[in-house]
């Protein structure tokens, strides 16, 4: 459609996990995170013509996703504020004046240093998985992250068990090497 290489058909396989991981560390709730990622893809689709190819496709999607997450917090915060006012004016008047700071959810609240580190770790791992050949990435995710049984995976992908272990072995070696370079 546009001159730059941008292909929405590959988005889900390529970026869905990365973006989802990015979101889940920021909004906690799986459902919401999914919706936000989905919205991001829609928004990306709409503004595909504006994509100049200056950044990578993923960076561009992440920048859209960031706006979506911020919007999400704006929305729930404004709802919270309204609810809080009612509570506040009916009783408990000694806390007056400080309700905003106290009650409005702070998105950075639980972001202690280890959480930040974990966020980055999750992204680093997904980054490394993203570099694998598609088949390896798929098998590794199913086996390790989703915890499917060996047999179930073999049936679904139509491969033998020893085949699966070879794929897993290659994937693990590659990911370990990649993480060694970028993380440890």
């Amino acid at each position: 459609m546009s001159g730059h290489e941008i292909n929405p058909n590959d988005w889900i396989t390529k970026y869905a996990d990365y973006l989802f991981n990015y979101t889940i560390t920021r909004v906690k709730d799986r459902e919401t995170a999914q919706d936000l990622v989905q919205d991001t893809f829609f928004a990306g689709l709409k503004s595909m013509k504006n994509f100049k190819g200056e950044a990578s496709e993923r960076t561009w999607l992440v920048s859209i996703l960031k706006r979506k997450i911020i919007d999400h917090y704006r929305k729930i915060n404004s709802k919270k504020g309204q609810a809080e006012i009612k509570v506040n004016f009916s009783h408990d008047s000694e806390n007056e004046g400080s309700w905003l700071e106290q009650r409005v959810a702070d998105p950075y609240d639980r972001t202690a240093e280890d959480t930040i580190e974990n966020t980055e770790l999750g992204l680093a791992i997904h980054n490394c998985i993203g570099k694998l050949p598609e088949k390896q990435a798929q098998v590794f995710k199913m086996k390790t992250l989703l915890g499917h049984e060996t047999e179930a995976i073999c049936n679904e992908l139509d491969i033998t068990a020893s085949n699966l272990w070879v794929i897993i072995h290659r994937a693990r070696t590659a990911i370990a090497a990649c993480l060694e370079k970028n993380w440890f």
Binding site: P8, N9, W11, I12, T13, A16, D17, F20, N21, I24, T25, Q34, V37, Q38, F41, F42, L45, N118, T119, L121, G122, I125, H126, K141, M142, K143, T144, L145, L146, T150, W165, I168, H169, R172, T173, I175, A176, L179, E180
Partner: protein, 85 residues
Amino acid sequence: MSKKNGLIIPCDEANHTCDKTQYREASLWEKIKLNIHLIYCRACRKYTKNNSKLTKLVHSEAVECLKTSEKKKMKSALDNEITGQ
């Protein structure tokens, strides 16, 4: 796997067992053989160490992944949107 019940196993088999232990799928006998192998094989010791480290990292809560069904749902919704344009 030439010597079926030998205590000494080659490196590739050791690595295979090591991969299996990461998913708790190795039998006790396999684990014994792996550990005997690790006594004298430095390369496999290193591999095993890295491998367990990776498992630990992946299982820390930070790493999330979409279920296949969830992805399918997203995909079909996106496809609809693409054709709708």
